[in-house]
Symmetry: C2
Subunit: 390 residues, 2 copies
């Protein structure tokens, strides 16, 4: 017998340790204030409501909640999602809704159903790292769509010749940027003209601070947009509950991929979340999250203003969880990180988020995990490290 006992699939070369994972390990060192992770503040979790709902589900429907269940998801929760999307201007029926194990699973199912080896997939520059990780094993050719502070450029779609484009119009991870109403229309028109459907990822759409974002891309082009949503940012991430809304021609294959992936999302979790949200709880709860994060966003904006040296740039986001910072000429955020950690502050170098050539001067700062006071201290430390030079 020659060669290794376990022969791995070619795609496993595309599966590598997440740089963010490695960085998060650094941030567990004592004394390091982490602006790296995107962990929602646990102070925002509706613990009492989750507790009451858990008790109710295990009292009223324990046998159903603990049994195997439908791969599509819990019917009342699918109806709730359909009603909420419809109210947001995107009219859909429950039979277009598939409950997923977090919206990360939505990305995996999309990749399985849409990506062959070598398939061209358009992504923003930069884009969400978790999508790069979900798509990577299916060996696409990722095409970076050029853009600006308003999102991808409409004329990028024709040139990209992508099978689909993956877009995050609301307070994008990592840049925090938001696509304005006019750009949304232009992007949808350009994508439709190019025959390029869109996968719209929207984990942060409800987490706006100043005004609600414009209607989704899916509302503008229902048959050409597959929409991914999540309960992670509006309730709590640990229940791993998300959903996708799929055009009818794709739904059956996504459902089969879901069934093969994990049979179904835990029925207990779906029922508990349904109990929590069914009577309008989110309309009372989400404003408290907005208020909390708005305060922290403001704290970070003012700390950046005070502590970052000239030549450093950023723009305050209108929602979501992140500031995107660009260091002065000559800096490399990856190279700077060990010194920052030594000084007691961590961030994510922007290079992790690019499908193509990265801008080495960029980095991502989260304002949702730490308190305003800790944000002030962390940004002060970061400012000193930058002031010490590249």
């Amino acid at each position: 017998m020659s060669g290794p006992l376990w022969v791995q699939a070619g795609r496993s070369d595309r599966m590598n340790p997440s740089i963010i994972r490695e960085i998060l390990k650094l941030t567990e060192l004592p004394g390091v204030l982490s602006l790296a992770g995107g962990l929602p503040s646990p102070d925002s979790f509706p613990i009492e409501q989750m507790r009451e709902a858990s008790e109710r589900v295990l009292a009223e429907a324990p046998r159903e909640a603990l049994q195997y269940a439908a791969s599509e998801g819990f019917a009342p929760l699918r109806e709730w999602v359909a009603a909420r999307r419809t109210a947001a201007g995107h009219p859909v029926g429950p039979d277009e809704v598939l409950i997923t194990s977090g919206s990360q699973q939505g990305l995996d199912l999309v990749a399985k159903v849409l990506i062959d080896a070598g398939t061209r997939v358009g992504v923003e520059t930069p884009t969400y790292l978790g999508a790069l990780q979900a798509f990577g094993p299916f060996e696409p050719e990722l095409v970076s769509l050029d853009g600006d502070d308003d999102g991808p450029a409409p004329d990028a779609f024709a040139a990209a010749r992508a099978r689909f484009a993956y877009l995050l119009p609301n307070f994008q991870n990592p840049t925090g940027r938001e696509m304005p109403d006019g750009r949304r229309d232009a992007v949808v028109a350009a994508a439709a003209a190019a025959g390029t459907p869109i996968v719209e990822d929207d984990p942060y759409g409800e987490i706006w601070f100043d005004e609600a974002p414009p209607p989704s891309l899916a509302a503008r082009w229902p048959e050409g947009v597959l929409y991914l949503g999540s309960f992670s940012k509006v309730l709590a991430p640990g229940f791993r509950l998300g959903y996708l809304v799929a055009p009818r021609e794709l739904y059956p294959k996504l459902l089969q991929a879901k069934q093969a992936a994990d049979l179904h999302t835990p029925g207990f979790n779906q029922r508990v979340v349904y109990e929590v949200v069914k009577d309008g709880f989110l309309d009372r709860h989400v404003p408290t999250i907005r208020e909390r994060y708005r305060t922290q966003r403001d704290a970070m904006a003012s700390a950046l203003e005070r502590h970052l040296p000239a030549g450093t740039s950023w723009r305050a986001p209108h929602g979501g969880m992140f500031f995107w910072v660009r260091l002065p000429e000559g800096f490399d955020a990856m190279a700077l990180l060990p010194r920052a950690v030594a000084a007691g502050v961590a961030y994510v170098p922007g290079a992790a988020f690019y499908a193509g050539d990265p801008d080495p001067r960029t980095l991502r700062l989260s304002f949702v995990t730490l308190s305003a006071a800790d944000i002030e201290v962390g940004v002060d430390r970061l400012g000193r490290v930058i002031a010490d030079g590249a």
Copy 2:
């Protein structure tokens, strides 16, 4: 623009509606007694323990249970799994344990890491349908390993030239067969000689009725066997909790595949199950499941004896959930199904479980969902349908 808007990956041709799903829909017709599904009896769910554990987790560690968590799984649960596997003769450390969203997800991760298009994968004849569904989208060439009532034949391994073999030694779904101790040794020796590592799927190992099965394949060849386990049959399936134990060379890639698939299995679910099992609860609870299913197995064995006409054959299983029945010469279980449903009983035609040429005379009967009295009625109906002729 020509062609469809949404272009699907080639692998989506391999993703088709599960025949079992379609059959389960039939069985929801009023008056049909279903011997088709493999749903554990809800009477076996430890509802009170799950309720107490849920309350404890949400009282003692709500912020941790509802937050993002490690992709590897909840550390105390991984330690518990490692200790339990070690006690079962397969010494492993917690760092070899990966918590999955049901063992179905283990199959998906295995497929992602090990299967290229055209990869030869050895499977039993017949084998678990869920594995065929998980592997299919990755476009393997499935090789049916010939065998007998004791499992696959050792001399099948060299001829198969498979990258790995997928085996279910304990009370296999669908046949209920169990691999005896001597066959396990012979299979491991033959697989090792052929350089064919093994993926061992063991959802039913604890559900034995007469005596505990021999040590696992993983216990005999730790570096050559990837082991999949599940809490679905010993606690409840609705929490979607399973695990895999992987050789160290494979663990990092499986972990990355897990992270890309759904970030992590819900922390709440892992903590609740850990609270339930940590103090030896399974050692008290699993015997009650064995006793319940033994009674139902006996009821089905005696009903088959009484009601099935001459020429029909079966063997009573020593554990698990299923009888495998072979109809008389000239019958086709798929063709017979509509008549059976019309007579008020449903089963799964065996053809669904074959990677290669099916034996059309076979069918699978579950004895775990219905009561002994309903099993008696259902088998009586089945016997009359068979007696009416092919």
